[in-house]
């Protein structure tokens, strides 16, 4: 589904990703771990199409197609979703208004009619329940005044609504208490399917106890230094980055 080859990315002329390779197949869950500043969010941003990231070398293929020239909305229509590490507040735009626009844009891209209000509300209520979000939250402005945990849950809620093919979760687990972590993990596990893939960016082994990854990668200084099965995360938890990488 996702093939990244020798990816080099610079931000403001400063090289961040330096020859990253990654292959994610449909149905798989990949965990991407690494110390602060390793370039994890940079990779997520490049995949989602945020501006300001320059691909200086290498390529990113999504379902065989080079996505580097696609706008963020086109990537979204293609099935890429990024749950942000720091979702922004959008005062004055309600969650309903926001998701109506998003869903209908997705539908328009597929030559489908827009949803009517009843269908929309039924869908939103169903997914809100999945994330144990109070229905009143649908009327609130996007992320405005949300607690850290609410924001993260709202990101996964949006993911559940849009049903993307490739779900990228950027440190969705940080700042979540154990109950919220369980809710989020349950929702993610419920979304797992043979046609969908996940890239979980995380610092902590904790999340991976709830969402079992197929592959674990360790990203350091813009390059994947090691990849392995779930046991790699256990090893990392025990040894820490430095010891782990020096024994490699």
């Amino acid at each position: 589904m996702l093939t990244i080859q020798n990816l080099h990315v610079s931000v403001e002329g400063c090289p961040i990703l330096q020859g990253l390779n990654l292959e994610v197949k449909a149905g798989e869950v990949h965990a991407l771990m690494g110390p602060n500043g390793a370039g994890k969010s940079t990779l997520a941003a490049v995949l989602a199409g945020k501006e300001g990231y320059e691909i200086t070398e290498g390529e990113v293929l999504f379902e065989g197609r080079d996505i580097s020239e696609l706008s963020p909305e086109e990537r979204s229509h293609a099935g890429i979703f990024l749950a942000f590490q720091y979702p922004v507040e959008i005062p004055g735009v309600s969650m309903i208004q926001f998701l109506r626009a998003a869903l209908n844009a997705h539908r328009a891209a597929k030559q489908q009619e827009p949803l009517d209000t009843a269908e929309l509300m039924a869908l939103l209520r169903e997914k809100a329940a999945l994330l144990k979000l109070d229905p009143a939250f649908l009327s609130r402005s996007v992320n405005e005044g949300f607690s850290g945990g609410e924001r993260k849950r709202a990101e996964i809620f949006q993911m559940a609504v849009l049903e993307p093919k490739l779900c990228i979760l950027d440190e969705t687990d940080s700042g979540l208490d154990i109950d919220a972590l369980k809710i989020v993990s349950d929702a993610v596990n419920a979304l797992r399917s043979p046609t969908r893939a996940f890239l979980l960016i995380t610092h902590y082994y904790r999340l991976l106890q709830y969402i079992r990854p197929d592959v674990v990668h360790i990203l350091v200084e813009g390059r994947i230094m090691r990849s392995g099965g779930p046991e790699l995360a256990v090893e990392l938890e025990e040894k820490g980055y430095e010891a782990l990488l020096s024994t490699a």
Binding site: S76, F81, A105
Partner: protein
Amino acid sequence: MEMLKSPALTLEEGAAHLTRLLQEQVALANLPPNLRVQWDKWVQEANLQTLFWEQRHKEDWKYTPMDFLRFPWDVGLARRVSPPFSIPSVLPYAEEVDGVEKDLPALRSLPVPSSPWEALLGGTSSAHHYYIRKEGSLIFSVRGEGGVVPYLLTLSLAPHSVGEVWLFPSTEALMLLRFHLHVGQGACLKLFFPSYANEAQGYLYTILSAHLEREASLETYDLSTSREWRRTEVKVYLKEAGAKVYLHGAAYVDSKTTWDQAIRVEHGAPHTESNQLFKSLVRAGGRSIFQGRIYVHRDAQKTNAYQSHKALLWEKNATAYSRPQLEIFADDVRCTHGVTTGFLQGEMLTYLRTRGIPLEDARKILASAFLAEVIEKVPYEILHTEMYKVISSCLSSPAELSR
């Protein structure tokens, strides 16, 4: 209008011409005898010097283009027109009264002019005085045609009465509207001042003053999407304890449009409260001017005064001036103010786009959202929908280049 297309006068010539024209129009007979002397003095003194030169150097005209002085105006015609939509108010019409015969509160509190403009506007022959005894609404829907139309309105609210004002002045030329309100003890007044994009590009200059007695309250909602040159001066005097004023403004400032707010809220008594909440979205070639002054008298302790103006520049070449001014002479006062000017945040746009919302739609959503903070405070839904409709359709077209 042909006339508007062919500037013919210098600013000085235009000011002199307009002064003479208005002086001829003045009919002080519409004012109570005790006021006539003072007003007459101002009117007599209104000459080029006071009307133009002093004005031009006054701080609160500093950013305002005065091109309306460039035209050889003639006296125009005021025509009553039906409002742009049916008014949702359920209140009966306010009663029109002969101001000179009756002892009206609004005429007693009508301030002595602070500029020759005010004197010339206030002394006009088109003067109408209204009174609300218990409850009532005043709907002013007048179109100025063919030249200068000066208009004087006063409205007096009896103690504990409830009122609404709907102002729909429009003009293809130059309209000068002087409106004074007197809100009696415990009375409540809501004023709606919506204006919508139309073909004509006229000049509308409004001076709105209000005098609030004990526990009186005034809310104003100025919603503008018009293409005019629109200057509104608001002067509110919170004369007695417990008086409250809430001023709201939301503007879509199109290319070639001037939206100019000069506001002065004066706290003259303790335990008074004021809040100014203004937002403007400015297109390339448009100009938004906000000058808000809060003046707190020495004995106006326990006063709350708030002010906020935010301008969103939609394109490069959009202009916004914001100037908060605080003059506080009491020490036990809560006062906050904030002004911001900036472009749409790329972060927000990206967020919407990563969810699949196309760029242009995302921009429109954020435009409406920016003004929503003010629009959603308007108590009538119809005013929201009209405003959103215009914003959405106007944003679909590229900004016209400025003249």
